[in-house]
């Protein structure tokens, strides 16, 4: 036993020696410097700060564990190096309290990391109801974005010095929650904006989503945005501040996977609204298109005003709990549950049948009859009919001429 306490003592002595070492202490005193070293610039999304803090927490914890262990390894290996004619002196070969301690203490710490990680994740995944929703579609090898009013992007960054493929620019408003609803038209892709510390895979036949809220740009390259492209664009003589963030495709998708990139351009909200209206073009907004499709294809069974019909009404349905025939209900903790449920019901009506409208649904599958953007439009319209659908579209879009 005394040997074991010797060992613990040696450990303590080693530790104190370590902790007084200068460079470590200096680095610990200036967390901003560490952020810069690892990330180049702080996260540009309000929800990503938890993630960065957690990363640095794990980093410092790891440095501590690593340095202590390596110090002991080298220290003991030198101190107890082999000497001819001498053998290792006896010492205990196990020590139950010590072993329990070094099992349980890490467990506590890891539990903390897990909870923190889970919270940060939920924060980044579950968008507030009033978020502006942008449909992102991945296709070999480019991204397209569709805004609530039907606007798409026609602007590309000049890639003559940075790559060989076209690089679209997606405008988003600063200081306002924005939600990306992501899907793919062919193989897997992944929509990653490193400056927002967030990505989700783009999967065919399925929606995933994430959101962010980025500070409005001031056009000045200051400390908070060091290394990030920030400046002014000139629009009709006005100077509009902007900040650019890379989009990378993070799931291998073939030949031009490495150049399936794009730019998220954060601009002040007033300018963004102008831009969106100006870019809307002649087409219909998704909600308008959805309303039209509803009228021609769905209205015979689904009312939009709450009245009863063959199928459930769309009025105030989105976001509410729903139960199914054969047991089970929609998992509302999943932010994409409703979107995916609507999509699934359009394509495979029998997969989940609304309680009271079954056991088999009367509906025919629309698979192969609707284009991806038409399905997205129906989902958007469905959502706009609910008071739990979030006010986003109504706010973001100038009221549709009725």
């Amino acid at each position: 036993m005394s040997n074991a306490s010797n060992m613990v003592h040696g450990l303590g002595a080693g530790l104190s020696e370590l902790l007084t070492s200068a460079p470590l202490a200096a680095a610990a005193a200036n967390p901003g410097a560490m952020t810069k070293l690892w990330f180049r610039a702080p996260a540009q999304s309000a929800t990503a700060h938890t993630a960065d803090e957690l990363f640095l927490f794990i980093f410092w914890f790891s440095v501590l564990a690593f340095v202590v262990l390596m110090f002991l390894m080298v220290y003991w290996s030198v101190k107890y190096r082999r000497r001819p004619g001498k053998i290792a002196p006896p010492s205990p070969s196990h020590n139950t309290p010590l072993e329990i301690a070094w099992t349980v203490l890490p467990l506590v710490l890891l539990a903390y990391i897990f909870f923190k990680g889970f919270h940060g994740y939920v924060d980044q995944l579950v968008a507030p109801a009033n978020a502006l929703e942008i449909n992102i579609r991945g296709q070999k090898w480019n991204w397209t974005a569709e805004y609530p009013n039907g606007a798409t992007t026609g602007e590309f960054k000049d890639t003559s010095t940075i790559g060989t493929q076209a690089m679209p620019i997606f405008y988003v408003p600063g200081d306002r929650p924005v939600k990306f609803k992501i899907t793919s038209l062919d193989v897997l892709h992944s929509f990653w904006v490193p400056d927002f510390r967030m990505k989700q895979d783009a999967i065919p036949n399925r929606y995933t989503s994430w959101w962010f809220k980025s500070p409005a740009p001031d056009g000045v390259d200051d400390d908070a945005t060091d290394g990030i492209d920030e400046g002014f664009i000139t629009v009709q003589g006005r100077q509009i501040p902007y900040r650019d963030h890379w989009i990378f495709c993070a799931e291998y998708c073939g030949t031009y996977h490495a150049e399936m990139y794009g730019i998220i351009r954060v601009v002040p909200e007033e300018y963004f609204n102008e831009w969106m209206v100006a870019s809307a073009g002649a087409g219909l907004s998704p909600i308008e298109l959805g309303a039209k499709l509803h009228k021609s294809k769905c209205a015979s069974c689904h009312s939009a005003d709450g009245s009863k019909n063959t199928g459930p009404t769309w009025k105030n349905a989105y976001g509410y709990p729903v139960e199914f025939h054969g047991g089970g209900s929609l998992d509302l903790s999943d932010p994409n549950a409703w979107d995916n449920y609507i999509r699934e019901s359009i394509l495979r009506p029998q997969a989940k049948v609304h309680l009271g409208y079954g056991p088999t649904s009367q509906m025919q599958s629309f698979e192969g009859q609707l284009k991806p953007e038409q399905i997205d439009a129906i989902v958007a319209y469905y959502r706009s009919l609910s008071d739990r659908g979030g006010a986003s579209e109504a706010e973001a879009t100038p009221p549709p001429a009725n």
Binding site: R348, Q350, A351, T360, S365, E367, G368
Partner: protein, 229 residues
């Protein structure tokens, strides 16, 4: 050198049947140890087989959840009577397999032979029923997997997927039946040559284990594919 020392009979032992002369592998202490080791190893192998089929069962479960109506239609296309008949055939063969081991252990070579033969015939019967009365008629009318599907009266867009799962699961099972029959044939030939008897019957026993597994997998496949609508 190897476990086949029986092939080099010494003159004095010439008169004994091969299974009496059997000598265990030189790296085992005795033949009981060797028998134990072979059995442990074979059980591990059976575990890998179970896991292999587990993958197929999971795929079945997932797609059943995704496309319930395609899978309900699918099982309506199958005739439970053929499936049931095949179940009975396999159950009988499992019984005769077990009996053949029992007879080998007690040195009743002829009884063991007859049982093995019946097992073999049952295996063949299973395959014939499967191919002639199940696969062939379905394949002809276009009830085929994935891109080969052209059945004109299908009621659900995802029936091709049902057929994919059906053919994969039953096809891989049929492959196991064929392999099992190969093992049984080997056991049969070597039994006649006198290699197996009360003191040495490892291979027959392992073949039996394998055959029971094949049977067991079918016992799960049958209700999942034929009976649940």
């Amino acid at each position: 050198m190897t476990t086949l020392d029986a092939r080099n009979p010494s003159l004095a032992q010439e008169a004994l049947p091969a299974h009496e002369r059997y000598k265990h592998g030189h790296h085992f202490r005795n033949s009981a140890d060797e028998f134990d080791a072979c059995k442990t190893g074979f059980w591990l192998f059976l575990a890998t087989e179970v896991l292999l089929f587990a993958g197929l069962f999971v795929a079945y479960g997932v797609f059943r959840m995704l496309y319930p109506e395609a899978f309900a239609n699918g099982s309506h296309y199958l005739d439970w009577r053929w499936g049931g008949l095949n179940t009975v055939v396999l159950l009988i063969s499992s019984y005769t397999m077990a009996m053949s081991i029992h007879h080998t252990q007690h040195g009743r070579k002829n009884a063991a032979t007859i049982n093995l033969l019946i097992t073999l015939v049952c295996g063949l019967g299973f395959l014939l029923i499967k191919f002639i009365f199940e696969y062939a008629p379905k394949w002809e009318v276009g009830k085929r997997p994935g891109q080969f599907f052209f059945y004109p009266f299908s009621q659900d867009a995802h029936e091709p997927l049902w057929w994919s799962v059906y053919y994969c699961a039953t096809g891989i099972h049929a492959l196991h039946v064929i392999i099992g029959m190969g093992l049984i044939a080997r056991a049969l030939v070597r039994l006649r040559m006198g290699y197996y008897g009360p003191k040495h019957y490892t291979f027959v026993e392992l073949t039996g284990l394998y055959w029971h597994l094949v049977d067991l997998v079918w016992i799960f496949l049958f209700p999942l594919l034929y009976l649940i609508h």
